[in-house]
């Protein structure tokens, strides 16, 4: 009795497994085709998502570049202002130096005249006059140099400040151009990704259709 029950169970299990196996064999091509269609859709969707990511990245790139150039230009303006102030101060110091030289000239020539007088020499004739004239010549040569130095300081200050401003402008232009280029590249990459996804989806679908055609049993035959 027990043997009979076990045999029946084994027979039923065998029949059930045979039916299952037969069903899987029949359904496999259709399931494969469905899987290929789904895979193609998934590839397209993945490509579109990727394009979205690229777009976000492009926008961010432009935004960050704009921010950075603004900041760079602000810093450059400040630096240039400081550079101009520094040059003016330096020119002023040279002017002071000239004035000091002139004061020393006055003192020296006063002393010449005083000594000449003291020695009973005419202070505006002779050697006294010659010494005073020589002192004037010497001092004015130095004052002239000091004036030149002041002028040079001013010119160089303007030049440096101008260079800073110009550089900041150029850097901003470059940064923005690069950001725009990068954004364009990202968008282009997104476009290609979408195209690639579409192509792969099409290929997957084609392969699935071919495999389906080669494995399916004609249900109408």
């Amino acid at each position: 009795m027990a043997d009979s029950t076990y045999t029946d169970f084994v027979d039923i299990a065998k029949t059930g497994f045979d039916i299952f196996q037969s069903s899987v064999n029949t359904a496999a091509p259709y399931l494969g085709l469905a899987a290929a269609i789904t895979a193609a859709g998934a590839q397209k969707t993945a490509a579109i998502y990727q394009q979205g990511l690229y777009e976000v990245q492009a926008i961010d790139t432009l935004r960050f570049a704009q921010l950075r150039t603004d900041q760079d230009q602000k810093y450059a303006s400040i630096q240039a202002g400081r550079k101009l102030l520094s040059a003016e101060r330096q020119a002023l110091n040279y002017t002071i130096q000239g004035n000091t030289l002139l004061r020393g000239l006055e003192q020296a020539n006063a002393a010449v005249r005083a000594r000449a007088a003291a020695n009973g020499i005419v202070y505006n004739e002779g050697s006294a006059a010659g010494v005073q004239a020589a002192n004037v010549k010497s001092v004015y040569r130095d004052v002239g140099m000091s004036n030149l130095n002041a002028l040079t300081a001013r010119i160089l200050g303007f030049e440096d400040a101008g260079a800073m401003i110009l550089a900041s402008k150029e850097q901003a232009d470059l940064t923005m151009s690069a950001a725009e280029a990068q954004a364009n590249q990202l968008r282009l990459a997104g476009d290609f990704n979408v195209k690639s996804g579409g192509l792969l989806a099409g290929a997957s679908l084609s392969k699935g259709v071919l495999d389906f055609a080669s494995t399916v049993k004609n249900p109408f035959a």
Binding site: Y54, A65, Q90, Y94, Q97, G98, L101, L105, A108, A111, V112, R115, A116, A118, N119, I121, S127, V131, A134, N135, S138, R141, D142, V143, M145, S146, N149, L156, E159, D160, A163, M164, L166, A167, S168, E170, Q171, L174, T175, A178, A181, Q182, N184, Q185, L186, R187, L188, A189, D191, F192, N193, K195, S196, L199, L200, G202, A203, S206, K207, L210
Partner: protein, 577 residues
């Protein structure tokens, strides 16, 4: 002049020109992911198209291959194409090039066909070669040449169709060819070995013959020294020669086998020589006991040395010689006895013939007396002397019951010696009966006569149970009836002989029975039968026959007179007189 303060110029130097500020302008790096993606896209396009084309070409290739195979399947090669291919011409197969997949498939399929056909052809030829090898019509070298020629031809032809198939064919046929070649080599080696073995065997037999001849002399004379030497010395020479020659065959088993054969042959030669010597020695044959003693002591004439050697090293052979001698002695005695028995049988037959002739002649007849003299002149044992007087009285009344049981005994095989018949002569058996019984005993086939006699006895009412003795009144009606029936049978047989007919005992019995039945169907017999059935069988409670009669006699249903009346009625019913 007082010093005047003089100012020297040059206290102010030209300010140094500092290096120009070099603001750095960095060019930001651009990652050209778009172009990379474009390139990648193009790569993907290329790969995808490549895979797609590979798949499509794969399908197309499969389809082309299938088409090629289908073409070959639909167009099998004609016998003419096959024959041309066998001779290396594959052009008639119209194979096409080797580039197209379709052509490749056609070539591959054709190569399968040709390869199969070539293999079949090769197998056939190899089988033929193998048969020739087995029959010894060819040798290894010839087989090798044939195989090489065949394989080269086929594989060359096949290589034009498909080199791979050619290589496979060569490998397959080489395997088969190696089998044939190995078989050929094996057969050749066996044949060679067999030839050498035959020669060796012949030489061995010659050696053994020479050895036997030498052994029969009992000694050996060395041709170099002219000295007598023992057989063992000669045997050593032969033994050494045989061992050397057998070893040259390269088979240890053969060497062992022939060494053993030599030892057996030497042993048999000694036994035979000694036995022959004894059998040809009359003195030895005359005194068996002394000869056996002489064998044990090694005193056997010229064979003494051989026997002494056997006594020392091979006592079993001494026993064999003794046995042979005893067998020969017994055989000779047996032959003498057999001859004696044969003579006795001849004399018995002669005596029977004489007695038959004597019985038909009257007493006092000269011829009869002459025959009696011849009878008495026969060697002793032909006729027992004590019975001679009774035998010569053939007309003396014989006891039919004794004769009847004697004949039955002969039929049953319980009496198989003439002495048993002779012993009854004069004791119920007269001369004629004895001679008749002796003739019956000496006849080749008694079965037919037994059937006839038993049938007649049954008809006469004599119970005939095989193996038992019938006890009836010798002078009773049964034996009288048997005598009548026998006379009828003899008369029927005599008439048949006159008519030239051949009657079997059964036919004779049927005629006797028919005649008896006719007698029983007379009115008297029928009346007796009716009386038996209506009167006596009712009382008996069953059928009354001759067989049931003894039981009725033993029962108390019937008294003696009634039994007597029943017997008379049975006689009448059976037609007995």
């Amino acid at each position: 002049m007082a010093d005047l303060p003089l100012i020297q110029s040059g206290r102010v130097e030209a300010a140094g020109i500092p290096g120009a500020v070099l603001p750095t302008v960095n060019t930001p790096q651009v990652d050209y992911v778009g172009l990379k993606a474009g390139a990648q896209y193009q790569g993907t396009v290329a790969q995808t198209l490549d895979r797609l084309s590979a798949q499509l070409f794969g399908i197309a290739k499969t389809a082309a291959t299938e088409a090629g195979l289908q073409y070959v399947a639909d167009n099998p090669p004609t016998p003419e194409q096959l024959e041309a291919a066998k001779s290396g011409n594959v052009a008639p197969l119209k194979l096409g090039g080797t580039f197209s997949v379709y052509d490749q498939a056609v070539r591959k399929a054709r190569s399968f066909e040709l390869s199969g056909m070539f293999e079949m052809e090769a197998r056939t030829q190899m089988t033929r070669m193998l048969t020739e090898v087995e029959l010894g019509k060819t040798n290894t070298e010839q087989v090798q040449n044939k195989l090489s020629t065949m394989m080269d031809g086929f594989s060359k032809s096949l290589s034009q169709v498909d080199p791979e198939a050619s290589l496979k064919f060569r490998a397959t046929s080489a395997t088969m060819g190696n089998t044939v070649l190995a078989k050929a080599a094996e057969f050749e080696m066996k044949r060679e070995k067999a030839n050498r073995l035959v020669k060796f065997d012949v030489d061995f037999d010659n050696n053994i013959s020479l050895l036997e001849a030498a052994v029969s002399q009992g000694f050996w004379v060395d041709p170099r020294t002219q000295q007598k030497r023992s057989i063992e010395d000669l045997a050593d020479v032969y033994r050494s020669t045989i061992t050397t020659n057998s070893l040259l065959l390269g088979d240890v088993q053969v060497q062992k086998q022939y060494s053993d054969k030599f030892e057996v042959a030497l042993k048999n030669a000694k036994i035979n020589a000694v036995t022959k010597h004894l059998l040809t020695d009359d003195a030895a044959m005359a005194d068996t006991e002394a000869t056996l003693k002489n064998i044990q002591s090694g005193n056997v004439g010229k064979m003494s040395d051989v026997v002494k050697n056997l006594l020392l090293f091979d006592y079993a052979s001494i026993e064999k010689v003794s046995a042979n001698f005893m067998v020969a002695v017994n055989a000779r005695n047996s032959a003498v006895n057999t001859k004696r028995e044969a003579d006795k049988r001849v004399n018995e037959q002669t005596s029977i013939d004489l007695l038959e002739k004597i019985f038909v002649l009257p007493e006092g007849n000269a011829k009869r007396n002459q025959l009696i003299k011849e009878l008495t002149a026969l060697p002793a044992g032909a006729v027992p002397i004590g019975t001679l007087k009774d035998l010569l009285e053939p007309n003396k009344e014989g006891n039919p019951a004794v004769e009847f049981n004697l004949l039955n005994g002969i039929y049953n095989g319980t009496i198989n010696n003439p002495h048993e018949i002779w012993s009854l002569v004069g004791k119920g058996l007269n001369g004629k009966q004895a001679i008749s019984a002796l003739k019956l005993l000496n006849s080749e086939d008694r079965r037919d006569q037994a059937d006839l006699d038993r049938g007649l006895a049954k008809l006469a009412g004599i119970p005939t149970t095989p193996g038992s003795v019938t006890v009836l009144d010798p002078k009773g009606k049964e034996f009288a009836q048997l005598r009548i029936l026998r006379a009828d049978a003899l008369q029927i047989q005599a008439q048949a002989a006159i008519d030239g007919k051949v009657l079997t005992p059964r036919m004779v019995l049927q005629q006797v029975e028919a005649k008896l039945e006719a007698t029983r169907n007379t009115e008297g017999a029928k009346a007796a039968q009716r009386t038996l059935e209506t009167v006596w069988e009712k009382k008996a409670g069953g059928k009354i026959t001759r067989d049931s009669l003894p039981a009725l006699e033993g029962s108390k249903k019937f008294n003696a007179n009634e039994i007597k009346a029943i017997k008379r009625l049975l006689d009448q019913a059976e037609g007995n007189p």
